[in-house]
Structures are given as C-alpha cells and as structure tokens.
C-alpha cells in the first residue's frame, strides 16, 4: 500500500470518527445504555441476594442484563448509519468521499473503534457492581473466566452494533431499522424459540443465539450446541454478510 493510500485511509477514518463523536445522539445512546445497564444489574443483583447463598455466580447475574443491554448497541449502530440521511448529510459525505464501498467500510471500522471500549466498560460495570454487592454470597468466578467472558460480551455487543449499522445502511431510515432489529431480537427470535421448538436447533446459528455462546461460560446444566469460538465465528459471519450486502446496495443505488 502506498504512503498516499495509507494517508487517505487514515484521513477518512479520522473523518468518520469525527462524525460519530460530534453527534450528540451517539453519546446519549451510550450514556443511557450505561445507566440502564447499571439499573438492571442492580435489579438482578437484588433478586440474586434474596436467593440461597452459593447457588449463583457473579458472571451469571452480572451479565443477566445482556439481553436488554444489546438494545442500546442496536440503537447505536442504527444511529451511526441512518444519521447520514438526516439534513442531506449523505450528499456531503459522498461528494467528499465518493468511494462508496471504502467509505461505508471505514464507517464500520470507526464505529467498532468507538464501540469496543464502550461495550467493555458497560459490560464490566454490571459485573463489577454484582461482584461488590454479592462477593460474600455468590460464587466468584476465576479472574481468567471473568476476563474471557467480558471479552466475549464485548465482542458480541460490537458485532451486534456493526450488524445493526449494516441494516441501518440498507434501510436508510431510523424507525424502520429499529422496528426490524428490535422486532427480531426481542419478539421474533424469543417467540420462535418458544412456539417453534422443532427449529430451535437451527436458531442456534442465528446472530443473536450464536452470539450468546460468545459470553456465556459453558454450563453442565444445559446443552451447549456451540463453543464460544463457534459462536464467535457464526456471529462474525452474519455481520460480514450483512455489511457486504449493505455495501453492494450502497454502491449500486442512488444516494
């Protein structure tokens, strides 16, 4: 890669990062996700404190809010791409950076750069809260397991954010993207698992369920269809498929 190309990549990545950090909605989404996660962690910890001592682990309780927490990251991803279509900004973006595939890829990279530390801090805050409140009553996991699980949770939230950004780029409007993604993650997927048990095994390979195996430590109580590595692989595959489809459409259609 020439010096000129690598400088161009750095400049455009800087511009995409600049766009994200100067958009107040991005910070609002992260701040509310952080606050709501702590509230949920406090609620799950409170329930845990009422149970018998030594029956639950800090990780299980601290990450119980993950199902809800992902909503904040879905919103973050959608905002990152759909905000381009507010105020005609997409015209400015494409007349400044007309290489569409490259621009959208760089936007996803910038989003990942912001999401990874935010997801780690938010996921860790819930687990740390539970740890301090329940260290005398709950099973405290080994530090290696804790770190591995939190890295898995960070990875899952980051991939969910990137997938949501790709769906946002495909649909271009915030509300339809929110309806599709929140509808899938919070209504379609859970209900399918309950009402269509015959296809439950196939659902394990879908992005939300496969992602679950990225951060939940293997348990002897349940059947673990996928290992954490397999869960990561399937989640990454889904994310890459959606990003690729989004780029193909982004390149072909009128802005």
């Amino acid at each position: 890669m020439s010096v000129s190309s690598s400088r161009k990549i750095t400049q455009i990545l800087g511009a995409e990062l600049g766009k994200l950090v100067t958009l107040p909605l991005i910070w609002l989404a992260l701040m509310w996700t952080f606050i709501l996660n702590l509230v949920l962690a406090a609620a799950f910890t409170s329930v845990g404190l009422q149970g018998a001592a030594g029956t639950q682990s800090v990780l299980n309780i601290g990450l119980a809010s993950m199902g809800y927490l992902q909503a904040g990251f879905i919103i973050l991803g959608i905002l990152a791409t759909c905000s381009e279509y507010t105020g005609g900004q997409i015209r400015t973006t494409l007349t400044t950076i007309p290489w569409r595939g490259f621009q959208l890829s760089t936007k996803h990279l910038a989003l990942a750069i912001i999401t990874i530390p935010a997801a780690f801090i938010i996921a860790t805050s819930g687990v740390l809260y539970t740890f301090f409140m329940m260290r005398d009553t709950a099973v405290v996991n080994e530090i290696d397991t804790m770190i591995q699980t939190l890295v898995g949770a960070t990875g899952y939230l980051t991939l969910t954010t990137l997938l949501s950004a790709a769906i946002g780029a495909l649909l271009r409007r915030t509300t339809p993207a929110l309806v599709v993604l929140l509808g899938y993650y919070f209504i379609v997927s859970p209900l399918t698992r309950v009402f269509l048990p015959s296809i439950k095994n196939y659902l394990n390979y879908f992005p939300d369920t496969a992602g679950y195996y990225m951060y939940m430590p293997p348990s002897s109580d349940e059947i673990n269809v996928l290992t954490p590595m397999q869960g990561t692989g399937f989640s990454m595959l889904w994310t890459l498929i959606f990003i690729t489809v989004a780029i193909v459409f982004y390149r072909k259609r009128d802005a």
């Binding site: 400088r7 005609g88 015209r91 290489w99």
Partner: protein, 237 residues
C-alpha cells in the same frame, strides 16, 4: 471544464432526463435554468456521482466524479439545504470534511469567516435559519478552494447582502479562471451573474448559449425563459 454528454435518466417507467448535453467552461459562470421538475437537480446529482445515469456521461475535467483524486479540492458543491446533520454544529460539520481531505482546522475558520458564520459556528445546524444553512453549504463548497463550483439555488434564502456577496464572489471566481455552474429560478439574479445559460424543460435542453444568445430578441432573460419553457418547449436555441 464540466462536460455533460447525452445524459439519460430513467426513474421507474419515467424518463426524467432525455439526452441532456452542455458544457460549463473555465472562466465563465454558467446558469442552469428550468422549471421545477425539469431535471436540474437530477443532472447535478449525476454530475456529482450521487445518482447513476441510465446512459450518457457527466465528466469533470474529463473524468467521472468518483475518479477524481481528491474531489473536495477539485469541485465545491452546495446542493439543496446545508448538507449537515441537524444535531451537529456548523464547525464540527466542516471539521470532519476538512479532516477527510487533510486540510488544517485553520481552513475551517477561514471559510466560516468568509461566509460570515463564525459567530454561529458553535451552534447546532438545526437552529440555523434557511440563509445560515445556505452559508454553511457555501462554506463547505469553498473548503477545498476548488477550481470548480457546482451550486444548486445558491441565493435561495439569502438576504440582499448575502445575494450581493454571492454574485460578486462568483464573478471573481470566474474572473480568476475557475468554472462555476449554478442553478437558480431567480432570473433577475441570474441575469446579473452568468455569462452562459442552459435552459432545460421536461428533461431536455431547450436553450444553450451565452446570455445574449439565449435572451435573443426578448427584453429580459425571464421573458426568454418563459417563452422557451412554455410556448416552444422542445425547440433548442
């Protein structure tokens, strides 16, 4: 030099551009006129790589927009509205653009000063008036000090002082050898600013020439415009 050659655009079953051809030359201000829905914005969007042409070409110095090495430093564009997210500040909007092409932050302050937006640069774009939004769009167009300007309705929403500033500014840009293409529906304004005129109607060029040629036997450009777009639609001057 901007070269539009036999541009055709279909949207669904409708043909919105039917073989548009014209040139905007360096050192000249070219006015691009037409009634609403005539195809002005579609032509400019294809020129800027935002939309795809069904056939034909729109070239900037002989290349499609996306093949320019550094588009912001070659072509300054201001289309409808400010082109900025409502929740971002004017300064932040210009800064990400500057960062994308490696321009220093001081250039952002220069263009803010140039368009008279320095005091409002820290405010969110959503709080801007129509005229302030236009000024921000102009600041973005001028950021890279480009040799070509493509402006859609640049004086729309500006106060008289702003209109005079734009007129003088565009004349100066053209005088120093730059290419300026602007669309407008304000005939009086345009007649005082442009050297060349292209008029389109129903997706076809109905007049293309110098201001004097297009005005022809009519008293004003406005009269010529109405004559060309109503009575003799389809006949090229």
């Amino acid at each position: 030099m901007l070269t539009i050659n036999n541009l055709v655009k279909h949207r669904g079953t409708q043909e919105i551009l039917s073989g548009i051809s014209f040139k905007a030359r360096p050192g000249r201000v070219t006015g691009f006129l037409g009634p609403n829905g005539a195809g002005k914005s579609s032509t400019l969007r294809i020129l800027l790589g935002l939309d795809r042409a069904t056939s034909g070409s729109a070239l900037i110095n002989g290349k499609p927009f996306a093949e320019l090495h550094n588009p912001l430093l070659t072509v300054g564009t201001a289309l409808d509205g400010s082109g900025a997210h409502r929740m971002r500040t004017g300064r932040a909007h210009l800064r990400w653009m500057a960062r994308a092409v490696g321009l220093p932050r001081s250039r952002v302050e220069e263009v803010l000063e140039l368009v008279g937006l320095t005091n409002a640069a820290g405010k969110r774009v959503g709080s801007y008036s129509l005229g302030m939004g236009k000024r921000l769009g102009m600041a973005a167009a001028l950021l890279g000090d480009p040799e070509i300007l493509v402006l859609d309705e640049p004086v729309n929403g500006l106060d008289p002082e702003g209109i005079r500033w734009i007129r003088t500014f565009l004349r100066e840009r053209a005088a120093s050898g730059n290419t300026v293409l602007l669309s407008s529906h304000l005939m009086g304004e345009l007649a005082e600013t442009v050297d060349d005129v292209v008029i389109i109607n129903h997706g076809k060029v109905v007049a293309d020439g110098t201001l004097e040629e297009v005005t022809g036997n009519h008293f004003t450009l406005e009269e010529a415009f109405f004559a060309l777009t109503s009575e003799h639609a389809g006949d090229t001057v």
